[in-house]
Protein backbone atom coordinates (compact mmCIF):
# COMPACT_ATOMS: atom_id res chain seq x y z
CA UNK A 1 0.00 0.00 0.00
CA UNK A 2 1.79 3.11 -1.18
CA UNK A 3 0.82 6.42 -2.70
CA UNK A 4 1.46 6.82 -6.40
CA UNK A 5 3.23 10.14 -5.81
CA UNK A 6 6.43 11.15 -3.99
CA UNK A 7 5.27 14.70 -3.25
CA UNK A 8 1.84 16.09 -2.48
CA UNK A 9 1.78 19.46 -4.21
CA UNK A 10 -1.68 19.41 -5.72
CA UNK A 11 -4.82 17.30 -5.67
CA UNK A 12 -3.83 16.53 -9.28
CA UNK A 13 -0.94 14.42 -7.92
CA UNK A 14 -3.35 11.97 -6.31
CA UNK A 15 -5.27 9.15 -7.97
CA UNK A 16 -8.67 8.17 -6.62
CA UNK A 17 -6.99 5.01 -5.26
CA UNK A 18 -4.53 7.25 -3.36
CA UNK A 19 -7.43 9.23 -1.93
CA UNK A 20 -9.24 6.06 -0.78
CA UNK A 21 -6.01 4.83 0.80
CA UNK A 22 -5.51 8.13 2.65
CA UNK A 23 -9.10 8.02 3.94
CA UNK A 24 -8.90 4.37 5.06
CA UNK A 25 -5.63 5.07 6.87
CA UNK A 26 -7.01 8.24 8.46
CA UNK A 27 -10.03 6.23 9.69
CA UNK A 28 -7.63 4.09 11.72
CA UNK A 29 -5.55 7.04 12.92
CA UNK A 30 -8.49 8.97 14.37
CA UNK A 31 -8.54 6.58 17.32
CA UNK A 32 -4.92 7.37 18.31
CA UNK A 33 -5.90 10.97 19.11
CA UNK A 34 -8.60 9.70 21.49
CA UNK A 35 -6.28 7.54 23.59
CA UNK A 36 -4.83 8.51 26.95
CA UNK A 37 -1.38 8.00 25.45
CA UNK A 38 -1.68 9.79 22.12
CA UNK A 39 1.42 8.42 20.49
CA UNK A 40 2.54 5.47 18.40
CA UNK A 41 6.21 4.76 17.58
CA UNK A 42 5.74 4.39 13.82
CA UNK A 43 7.85 7.31 12.54
CA UNK A 44 10.45 7.31 15.28
CA UNK A 45 13.68 8.82 14.05
CA UNK A 46 12.09 10.55 11.06
CA UNK A 47 12.43 14.32 10.72
CA UNK A 48 9.61 16.53 9.50
CA UNK A 49 10.26 20.24 8.92
CA UNK A 50 7.31 22.62 8.89
CA UNK A 51 8.66 25.48 6.77
CA UNK A 52 6.00 28.19 6.95
CA UNK A 53 6.88 31.26 4.93
CA UNK A 54 3.40 32.64 5.57
CA UNK A 55 1.48 32.90 8.84
CA UNK A 56 -0.62 29.96 9.94
CA UNK A 57 -1.67 28.61 13.29
CA UNK A 58 -4.16 25.85 12.61
CA UNK A 59 -2.42 24.14 9.69
CA UNK A 60 1.05 24.35 11.22
CA UNK A 61 -0.18 23.02 14.55
CA UNK A 62 -2.15 20.28 12.81
CA UNK A 63 0.92 19.05 10.90
CA UNK A 64 3.07 19.33 14.03
CA UNK A 65 0.64 17.33 16.16
CA UNK A 66 0.24 14.76 13.37
CA UNK A 67 4.01 14.25 13.23
CA UNK A 68 4.39 14.08 17.01
CA UNK A 69 1.57 11.53 17.45
CA UNK A 70 3.52 9.28 15.06
CA UNK A 71 6.77 9.94 17.01
CA UNK A 72 8.49 11.88 14.20
CA UNK A 73 10.73 14.78 15.19
CA UNK A 74 8.90 17.87 14.00
CA UNK A 75 10.63 21.21 13.68
CA UNK A 76 8.91 24.47 12.83
CA UNK A 77 10.40 27.43 11.07
CA UNK A 78 8.43 30.51 10.14
CA UNK A 79 9.35 33.67 8.28
CA UNK A 80 9.22 35.78 11.42
CA UNK A 81 11.62 33.44 13.20
CA UNK A 82 13.81 32.60 10.23
CA UNK A 83 17.07 34.46 9.96
CA UNK A 84 17.45 32.86 6.55
CA UNK A 85 14.62 34.79 4.90
CA UNK A 86 15.25 38.00 6.86
CA UNK A 87 18.88 38.21 5.87
CA UNK A 88 17.97 38.09 2.21
CA UNK A 89 18.57 34.44 1.39
CA UNK A 90 16.56 33.27 -1.61
CA UNK A 91 13.80 30.69 -1.20
CA UNK A 92 15.79 28.18 -3.25
CA UNK A 93 18.88 28.55 -1.08
CA UNK A 94 16.79 28.17 2.07
CA UNK A 95 15.31 24.93 0.71
CA UNK A 96 18.77 23.56 -0.16
CA UNK A 97 20.01 24.44 3.33
CA UNK A 98 17.06 22.64 4.87
CA UNK A 99 17.70 19.62 2.65
CA UNK A 100 21.34 19.59 3.77
CA UNK A 101 20.10 18.76 7.28
CA UNK A 102 18.46 15.57 5.96
CA UNK A 103 14.77 15.97 6.76
CA UNK A 104 12.47 13.20 5.53
CA UNK A 105 9.57 15.55 4.79
CA UNK A 106 9.44 19.27 4.06
CA UNK A 107 6.03 20.81 4.62
CA UNK A 108 5.89 24.17 2.88
CA UNK A 109 3.49 27.06 3.10
CA UNK A 110 4.29 30.11 1.01
CA UNK A 111 2.44 33.18 -0.24
CA UNK A 112 3.74 32.50 -3.77
CA UNK A 113 1.99 29.87 -5.85
CA UNK A 114 4.41 27.18 -6.99
CA UNK A 115 6.90 27.51 -4.11
CA UNK A 116 6.39 23.86 -2.98
CA UNK A 117 6.76 22.72 -6.61
CA UNK A 118 10.04 24.60 -6.90
CA UNK A 119 11.23 23.03 -3.64
CA UNK A 120 10.31 19.55 -4.88
CA UNK A 121 12.43 20.10 -7.98
CA UNK A 122 15.42 21.37 -5.99
CA UNK A 123 15.68 18.53 -3.51
CA UNK A 124 17.12 15.15 -4.42
CA UNK A 125 15.77 13.16 -1.49
CA UNK A 126 12.78 13.36 0.80
CA UNK A 127 9.22 14.48 0.21
CA UNK A 128 7.44 17.83 -0.10
CA UNK A 129 3.91 18.52 1.11
CA UNK A 130 2.14 21.70 0.03
CA UNK A 131 0.49 23.31 3.06
CA UNK A 132 -0.95 26.17 0.98
CA UNK A 133 0.78 28.13 -1.76
CA UNK A 134 -0.49 31.58 -2.74
CA UNK A 135 -3.78 31.39 -4.60
CA UNK A 136 -2.91 27.95 -6.01
CA UNK A 137 -3.77 24.98 -3.79
CA UNK A 138 -4.11 23.62 -0.25
CA UNK A 139 -4.50 19.88 -0.87
CA UNK A 140 -4.54 18.62 2.73
CA UNK A 141 -7.39 21.02 3.57
CA UNK A 142 -9.46 19.64 0.67
CA UNK A 143 -8.73 16.08 1.82
CA UNK A 144 -9.87 16.80 5.36
CA UNK A 145 -12.98 18.53 3.96
CA UNK A 146 -13.98 15.48 1.90
CA UNK A 147 -12.99 13.12 4.74
CA UNK A 148 -15.37 15.03 7.04
CA UNK A 149 -18.19 14.86 4.46
CA UNK A 150 -17.60 11.10 4.07
CA UNK A 151 -17.62 10.62 7.85
CA UNK A 152 -20.81 12.64 8.43
CA UNK A 153 -22.88 11.60 5.41
CA UNK A 154 -21.46 8.11 4.87
CA UNK A 155 -20.89 8.63 1.14
CA UNK A 156 -19.41 11.15 -1.28
CA UNK A 157 -20.43 10.27 -4.84
CA UNK A 158 -23.28 12.32 -6.24
CA UNK A 159 -23.43 14.75 -3.30
CA UNK A 160 -24.07 18.41 -4.07
CA UNK A 161 -21.64 20.87 -2.53
CA UNK A 162 -22.00 24.64 -2.54
CA UNK A 163 -18.92 26.81 -2.14
CA UNK A 164 -19.75 30.39 -1.28
CA UNK A 165 -17.52 33.43 -1.12
CA UNK A 166 -14.19 34.54 -2.46
CA UNK A 167 -13.40 31.66 -4.81
CA UNK A 168 -10.95 33.74 -6.87
CA UNK A 169 -8.44 34.21 -4.07
CA UNK A 170 -9.03 30.85 -2.37
CA UNK A 171 -6.54 28.00 -2.64
CA UNK A 172 -8.92 25.93 -0.51
CA UNK A 173 -11.66 26.36 -3.12
CA UNK A 174 -9.29 25.31 -5.93
CA UNK A 175 -8.21 22.12 -4.15
CA UNK A 176 -11.80 21.42 -3.08
CA UNK A 177 -13.12 21.78 -6.63
CA UNK A 178 -10.44 19.46 -8.04
CA UNK A 179 -10.95 16.84 -5.33
CA UNK A 180 -14.74 16.91 -5.32
CA UNK A 181 -14.97 16.65 -9.11
CA UNK A 182 -12.43 13.80 -9.13
CA UNK A 183 -14.50 11.89 -6.58
CA UNK A 184 -17.83 12.42 -8.33
CA UNK A 185 -19.45 15.24 -6.35
CA UNK A 186 -21.33 18.15 -7.95
CA UNK A 187 -20.01 21.61 -7.13
CA UNK A 188 -21.95 24.88 -7.19
CA UNK A 189 -20.26 28.25 -6.67
CA UNK A 190 -21.89 31.35 -5.33
CA UNK A 191 -20.55 34.80 -4.53
CA UNK A 192 -19.94 38.21 -6.02
CA UNK A 193 -18.85 37.94 -9.67
CA UNK A 194 -15.79 40.03 -8.86
CA UNK A 195 -14.67 37.17 -6.59
CA UNK A 196 -15.13 34.41 -9.20
CA UNK A 197 -12.16 33.43 -11.33
CA UNK A 198 -12.85 33.86 -15.07
CA UNK A 199 -13.67 30.59 -16.91
CA UNK A 200 -13.91 28.70 -13.62
CA UNK A 201 -16.93 26.72 -14.85
CA UNK A 202 -15.15 25.31 -17.87
CA UNK A 203 -11.84 24.78 -16.12
CA UNK A 204 -13.15 22.88 -13.08
CA UNK A 205 -16.47 21.47 -14.30
CA UNK A 206 -18.47 23.42 -11.71
CA UNK A 207 -21.61 25.58 -11.93
CA UNK A 208 -21.87 29.21 -10.91
CA UNK A 209 -25.28 30.14 -9.57
CA UNK A 210 -26.31 33.77 -9.32
CA UNK A 211 -28.90 33.39 -6.57
CA UNK A 212 -27.77 31.85 -3.32
CA UNK A 213 -31.26 31.20 -1.98
CA UNK A 214 -32.29 29.16 -5.06
CA UNK A 215 -29.49 26.66 -4.61
CA UNK A 216 -29.68 26.12 -0.82
CA UNK A 217 -32.52 23.51 -0.80
CA UNK A 218 -30.54 21.24 -3.18
CA UNK A 219 -27.29 21.15 -1.22
CA UNK A 220 -25.86 18.40 0.98
CA UNK A 221 -22.83 20.46 2.00
CA UNK A 222 -22.22 24.19 2.16
CA UNK A 223 -18.66 25.46 2.45
CA UNK A 224 -18.24 29.12 3.35
CA UNK A 225 -14.89 30.66 2.42
CA UNK A 226 -13.19 33.31 4.49
CA UNK A 227 -13.64 36.85 3.27
CA UNK A 228 -10.17 38.29 3.25
CA UNK A 229 -10.78 41.73 4.68
CA UNK A 230 -7.71 43.11 2.96
CA UNK A 231 -9.57 42.62 -0.35
CA UNK A 232 -11.89 45.47 0.59
CA UNK A 233 -9.10 47.86 -0.27
CA UNK A 234 -9.06 46.42 -3.78
CA UNK A 235 -12.74 47.46 -4.17
CA UNK A 236 -13.84 43.97 -5.22
CA UNK A 237 -17.01 44.32 -3.18
CA UNK A 238 -18.59 47.41 -1.63
CA UNK A 239 -18.76 46.57 2.06
CA UNK A 240 -18.71 43.70 4.54
CA UNK A 241 -22.25 44.58 5.51
CA UNK A 242 -23.47 44.21 1.96
CA UNK A 243 -21.54 40.93 1.54
CA UNK A 244 -23.05 39.50 4.72
CA UNK A 245 -26.52 40.51 3.52
CA UNK A 246 -26.27 38.79 0.14
CA UNK A 247 -23.93 35.87 0.85
CA UNK A 248 -23.75 35.52 4.62
CA UNK A 249 -25.22 32.27 5.96
CA UNK A 250 -27.73 32.53 8.82
CA UNK A 251 -30.50 30.33 10.21
CA UNK A 252 -33.19 32.30 8.36
CA UNK A 253 -31.52 31.62 5.03
CA UNK A 254 -31.16 27.90 5.90
CA UNK A 255 -34.89 27.41 6.57
CA UNK A 256 -35.38 25.72 3.19
CA UNK A 257 -32.20 23.62 3.48
CA UNK A 258 -32.14 19.83 3.94
CA UNK A 259 -32.05 18.85 7.59
CA UNK A 260 -28.75 16.97 7.16
CA UNK A 261 -27.01 19.88 5.36
CA UNK A 262 -23.42 20.22 6.61
CA UNK A 263 -21.93 23.68 7.16
CA UNK A 264 -18.17 23.82 6.73
CA UNK A 265 -15.52 26.53 6.85
CA UNK A 266 -11.74 26.22 6.49
CA UNK A 267 -11.18 28.84 9.20
CA UNK A 268 -10.45 31.32 10.55
CA UNK A 269 -14.10 32.41 10.59
CA UNK A 270 -15.20 36.03 10.61
CA UNK A 271 -18.19 35.64 12.91
CA UNK A 272 -21.22 37.48 11.56
CA UNK A 273 -19.80 37.91 8.04
CA UNK A 274 -19.57 34.54 6.26
CA UNK A 275 -21.54 32.73 8.94
CA UNK A 276 -23.83 34.00 11.69
CA UNK A 277 -22.92 32.89 15.23
CA UNK A 278 -26.06 30.72 15.52
CA UNK A 279 -24.98 28.78 12.42
CA UNK A 280 -21.35 28.43 13.56
CA UNK A 281 -22.43 27.03 16.92
CA UNK A 282 -25.49 25.22 15.55
CA UNK A 283 -26.11 21.52 14.94
CA UNK A 284 -25.29 21.61 11.21
CA UNK A 285 -21.81 23.03 11.73
CA UNK A 286 -18.94 20.54 11.44
CA UNK A 287 -16.22 23.19 11.53
CA UNK A 288 -14.51 21.75 14.60
CA UNK A 289 -14.82 18.19 13.25
CA UNK A 290 -12.84 19.46 10.26
CA UNK A 291 -10.06 20.51 12.63
CA UNK A 292 -10.07 17.13 14.42
CA UNK A 293 -10.06 15.26 11.12
CA UNK A 294 -7.23 17.45 9.84
CA UNK A 295 -4.85 15.78 12.29
CA UNK A 296 -5.91 12.27 11.20
CA UNK A 297 -5.58 13.15 7.49
CA UNK A 298 -2.11 14.64 8.00
CA UNK A 299 -1.03 11.62 10.07
CA UNK A 300 -2.19 9.37 7.24
CA UNK A 301 -0.23 11.38 4.67
CA UNK A 302 2.97 11.40 6.73
CA UNK A 303 2.62 7.66 7.33
CA UNK A 304 1.90 6.79 3.70
CA UNK A 305 4.79 8.92 2.42
CA UNK A 306 7.28 7.55 4.96
CA UNK A 307 6.19 4.12 6.12
CA UNK A 308 7.45 0.95 4.53
CA UNK A 309 6.64 -2.71 4.81
CA UNK A 310 9.39 -5.19 5.43
CA UNK A 311 9.22 -8.95 5.36
CA UNK A 312 6.65 -10.19 7.79
CA UNK A 313 7.98 -11.46 11.09
CA UNK A 314 5.41 -13.78 12.61
Amino acid sequence: MALSTRHILSIRDLSSRDIDLIFQTADSFREISERDIKKVPTLRGRTVINAFFEDSTRTRLSFEIAGKRLSADTINISTSGSAMAKKGESFGDTVLNLEAMNPDILIIRHNQAGAPLLASKLIKKGHVINAGDGMHEHPTQALLDLFTIREKLGRVKGLKVGIVGDVAHSRVARSDMLLFRKMGLKVYLCGPLTLMPPSVEAEYGVTWVPSFDDIIPKLDVLIALRIQKERLEEHLFPSLREYARYFGINEKRLKKAKTELLIMHPGPVNRGIELSPDVIDGPRSVILDQVTNGVAIRMAILYLLLGGEGEKGT
Binding site: R35, K39, Y303, G308, E309
Partner: protein, 203 residues
Protein backbone atom coordinates in the same frame (compact mmCIF):
# COMPACT_ATOMS: atom_id res chain seq x y z
CA UNK B 1 -4.05 -10.12 -10.32
CA UNK B 2 -1.36 -12.24 -11.88
CA UNK B 3 -0.63 -13.81 -8.55
CA UNK B 4 -4.27 -14.77 -8.05
CA UNK B 5 -4.38 -16.37 -11.47
CA UNK B 6 -1.17 -18.29 -10.81
CA UNK B 7 -2.54 -19.57 -7.54
CA UNK B 8 -5.78 -20.78 -9.07
CA UNK B 9 -4.04 -22.65 -11.89
CA UNK B 10 -1.67 -24.09 -9.30
CA UNK B 11 -4.62 -25.31 -7.26
CA UNK B 12 -6.28 -26.81 -10.31
CA UNK B 13 -3.23 -28.90 -11.01
CA UNK B 14 -2.78 -30.12 -7.45
CA UNK B 15 -2.78 -33.88 -7.16
CA UNK B 16 -3.40 -35.76 -3.98
CA UNK B 17 -0.69 -38.19 -2.97
CA UNK B 18 -1.36 -39.68 0.46
CA UNK B 19 -1.89 -36.39 2.25
CA UNK B 20 0.86 -34.75 0.32
CA UNK B 21 -0.12 -32.26 -2.33
CA UNK B 22 2.44 -31.82 -5.01
CA UNK B 23 2.22 -29.29 -7.76
CA UNK B 24 4.61 -29.95 -10.60
CA UNK B 25 4.15 -26.62 -12.35
CA UNK B 26 4.97 -24.23 -9.53
CA UNK B 27 6.98 -26.75 -7.51
CA UNK B 28 5.04 -26.27 -4.31
CA UNK B 29 4.65 -29.09 -1.83
CA UNK B 30 1.62 -28.78 0.42
CA UNK B 31 0.91 -30.89 3.50
CA UNK B 32 -2.13 -30.82 5.76
CA UNK B 33 -1.15 -30.68 9.42
CA UNK B 34 -4.47 -29.83 11.10
CA UNK B 35 -8.02 -30.13 9.83
CA UNK B 36 -11.04 -28.36 11.25
CA UNK B 37 -11.62 -31.09 13.85
CA UNK B 38 -8.01 -30.94 15.05
CA UNK B 39 -8.25 -27.16 15.36
CA UNK B 40 -11.54 -27.35 17.23
CA UNK B 41 -10.16 -29.97 19.62
CA UNK B 42 -7.01 -27.93 20.25
CA UNK B 43 -9.08 -24.82 21.01
CA UNK B 44 -11.34 -26.78 23.38
CA UNK B 45 -8.28 -28.11 25.25
CA UNK B 46 -6.85 -24.57 25.48
CA UNK B 47 -10.24 -23.19 26.58
CA UNK B 48 -10.26 -25.69 29.47
CA UNK B 49 -6.72 -24.69 30.45
CA UNK B 50 -7.63 -21.00 30.40
CA UNK B 51 -10.78 -21.56 32.46
CA UNK B 52 -8.83 -23.70 34.95
CA UNK B 53 -6.31 -20.86 35.38
CA UNK B 54 -9.19 -18.45 36.11
CA UNK B 55 -10.96 -16.01 33.79
CA UNK B 56 -11.83 -13.23 36.26
CA UNK B 57 -10.92 -9.96 34.50
CA UNK B 58 -9.44 -11.85 31.57
CA UNK B 59 -10.01 -10.79 27.96
CA UNK B 60 -8.95 -12.29 24.63
CA UNK B 61 -7.29 -9.95 22.12
CA UNK B 62 -6.83 -11.16 18.55
CA UNK B 63 -3.95 -9.82 16.50
CA UNK B 64 -4.99 -8.79 12.99
CA UNK B 65 -5.65 -10.47 10.68
CA UNK B 66 -5.90 -14.20 11.52
CA UNK B 67 -5.77 -13.79 15.30
CA UNK B 68 -9.19 -12.16 15.13
CA UNK B 69 -11.35 -15.12 13.99
CA UNK B 70 -9.20 -17.41 16.19
CA UNK B 71 -9.99 -15.25 19.23
CA UNK B 72 -13.71 -15.46 18.40
CA UNK B 73 -13.48 -19.22 18.01
CA UNK B 74 -11.64 -19.61 21.33
CA UNK B 75 -14.14 -17.27 23.02
CA UNK B 76 -17.01 -19.55 21.92
CA UNK B 77 -15.18 -22.55 23.38
CA UNK B 78 -14.50 -20.75 26.66
CA UNK B 79 -18.16 -19.73 26.88
CA UNK B 80 -19.15 -23.37 26.44
CA UNK B 81 -16.75 -24.53 29.16
CA UNK B 82 -17.51 -21.92 31.80
CA UNK B 83 -21.12 -21.11 30.76
CA UNK B 84 -20.45 -17.38 30.60
CA UNK B 85 -18.98 -15.15 27.90
CA UNK B 86 -15.49 -13.64 27.81
CA UNK B 87 -14.55 -10.18 26.45
CA UNK B 88 -12.74 -10.02 23.12
CA UNK B 89 -10.86 -7.27 21.32
CA UNK B 90 -8.88 -6.65 18.13
CA UNK B 91 -5.33 -5.32 17.90
CA UNK B 92 -3.67 -3.91 14.76
CA UNK B 93 0.09 -3.88 15.21
CA UNK B 94 1.23 -2.30 11.95
CA UNK B 95 2.16 0.99 13.65
CA UNK B 96 4.43 -0.89 16.08
CA UNK B 97 6.38 -3.06 13.66
CA UNK B 98 10.17 -2.89 13.74
CA UNK B 99 10.55 -3.32 9.99
CA UNK B 100 8.53 -0.34 8.72
CA UNK B 101 11.52 1.49 7.28
CA UNK B 102 13.03 -1.50 5.50
CA UNK B 103 11.05 -1.69 2.29
CA UNK B 104 8.88 0.65 0.23
CA UNK B 105 5.35 -0.67 0.69
CA UNK B 106 3.18 0.30 3.63
CA UNK B 107 0.74 -2.07 5.26
CA UNK B 108 -2.81 -0.77 5.42
CA UNK B 109 -3.48 0.20 9.01
CA UNK B 110 -6.83 -1.03 10.28
CA UNK B 111 -8.50 0.05 13.50
CA UNK B 112 -7.72 -1.45 16.88
CA UNK B 113 -10.95 -2.28 18.75
CA UNK B 114 -10.61 -2.69 22.50
CA UNK B 115 -14.12 -2.22 23.91
CA UNK B 116 -12.77 -2.30 27.49
CA UNK B 117 -10.02 -0.64 29.49
CA UNK B 118 -6.83 -2.68 29.37
CA UNK B 119 -5.62 -1.43 32.74
CA UNK B 120 -5.84 -4.09 35.45
CA UNK B 121 -7.15 -6.75 33.04
CA UNK B 122 -5.50 -10.04 32.22
CA UNK B 123 -4.97 -10.11 28.47
CA UNK B 124 -4.49 -13.22 26.38
CA UNK B 125 -3.06 -12.32 22.99
CA UNK B 126 -4.20 -14.60 20.18
CA UNK B 127 -2.24 -15.14 16.96
CA UNK B 128 -2.12 -17.81 14.28
CA UNK B 129 1.61 -18.63 14.03
CA UNK B 130 4.49 -17.96 16.42
CA UNK B 131 7.68 -17.65 14.40
CA UNK B 132 10.33 -14.98 15.03
CA UNK B 133 8.43 -13.41 17.94
CA UNK B 134 8.57 -9.93 16.40
CA UNK B 135 4.81 -9.65 15.94
CA UNK B 136 4.26 -10.48 19.61
CA UNK B 137 6.88 -7.92 20.67
CA UNK B 138 5.00 -5.31 18.62
CA UNK B 139 1.64 -6.48 20.01
CA UNK B 140 2.84 -6.09 23.59
CA UNK B 141 4.09 -2.57 22.85
CA UNK B 142 0.77 -1.70 21.20
CA UNK B 143 -1.24 -3.10 24.10
CA UNK B 144 0.79 -1.26 26.73
CA UNK B 145 0.04 2.04 24.98
CA UNK B 146 -3.62 1.51 25.91
CA UNK B 147 -2.97 1.02 29.61
CA UNK B 148 -1.30 -1.26 32.16
CA UNK B 149 -2.62 -4.81 31.92
CA UNK B 150 -2.32 -7.06 35.00
CA UNK B 151 -0.67 -9.69 32.82
CA UNK B 152 -0.26 -10.59 29.17
CA UNK B 153 -0.31 -14.23 28.06
CA UNK B 154 0.02 -15.64 24.59
CA UNK B 155 -1.98 -18.26 22.71
CA UNK B 156 -1.01 -19.39 19.21
CA UNK B 157 -2.45 -22.07 16.97
CA UNK B 158 0.98 -23.11 15.66
CA UNK B 159 4.44 -22.74 17.19
CA UNK B 160 6.86 -23.33 14.34
CA UNK B 161 10.12 -22.50 16.13
CA UNK B 162 12.84 -20.17 14.71
CA UNK B 163 12.50 -17.52 17.43
CA UNK B 164 14.53 -14.32 17.15
CA UNK B 165 13.23 -12.81 20.41
CA UNK B 166 12.94 -14.39 23.88
CA UNK B 167 9.19 -14.90 23.58
CA UNK B 168 7.26 -18.13 24.29
CA UNK B 169 3.58 -19.00 24.12
CA UNK B 170 1.51 -19.99 27.17
CA UNK B 171 -1.07 -21.91 25.13
CA UNK B 172 -0.19 -23.72 21.90
CA UNK B 173 -2.51 -25.51 19.48
CA UNK B 174 0.28 -27.54 17.92
CA UNK B 175 4.07 -27.47 17.84
CA UNK B 176 5.49 -28.06 14.37
CA UNK B 177 9.13 -28.62 13.47
CA UNK B 178 9.83 -26.58 10.38
CA UNK B 179 12.62 -25.61 8.02
CA UNK B 180 13.21 -21.94 7.33
CA UNK B 181 11.99 -22.27 3.72
CA UNK B 182 8.63 -23.72 4.74
CA UNK B 183 5.50 -21.62 4.96
CA UNK B 184 2.87 -22.41 7.58
CA UNK B 185 -0.63 -21.25 6.71
CA UNK B 186 -3.39 -21.22 9.26
CA UNK B 187 -6.50 -20.88 7.12
CA UNK B 188 -9.69 -19.60 8.68
CA UNK B 189 -13.16 -19.73 7.23
CA UNK B 190 -14.03 -16.03 7.47
CA UNK B 191 -10.86 -15.10 5.56
CA UNK B 192 -9.81 -18.13 3.52
CA UNK B 193 -13.10 -19.98 3.07
CA UNK B 194 -12.11 -23.03 5.13
CA UNK B 195 -10.51 -24.03 8.42
CA UNK B 196 -7.24 -25.94 8.19
CA UNK B 197 -3.50 -25.65 8.75
CA UNK B 198 -1.10 -26.49 5.96
CA UNK B 199 2.63 -26.42 5.51
CA UNK B 200 4.05 -25.45 2.13
CA UNK B 201 7.50 -25.74 0.71
CA UNK B 202 8.97 -24.61 -2.56
CA UNK B 203 10.98 -27.37 -4.17
Amino acid sequence: MNQVREQSTAKASLRKRGGLFYDKESHVEEKLIMNVKDMDAALLRIAKEIVAAGTDGVALVGIRTRGVPLADWLARKIEKVQKKPIDTGVLDINLYRDDLSEVAEQPLVKPTELPFSVTGRGIILIDDVLYTGRTIRAAMDALIDYGRPKFIRLMVMIDRGWREFPIQADYIGKKVKTDADQIIKVMLESIDGENKVIVKRKI
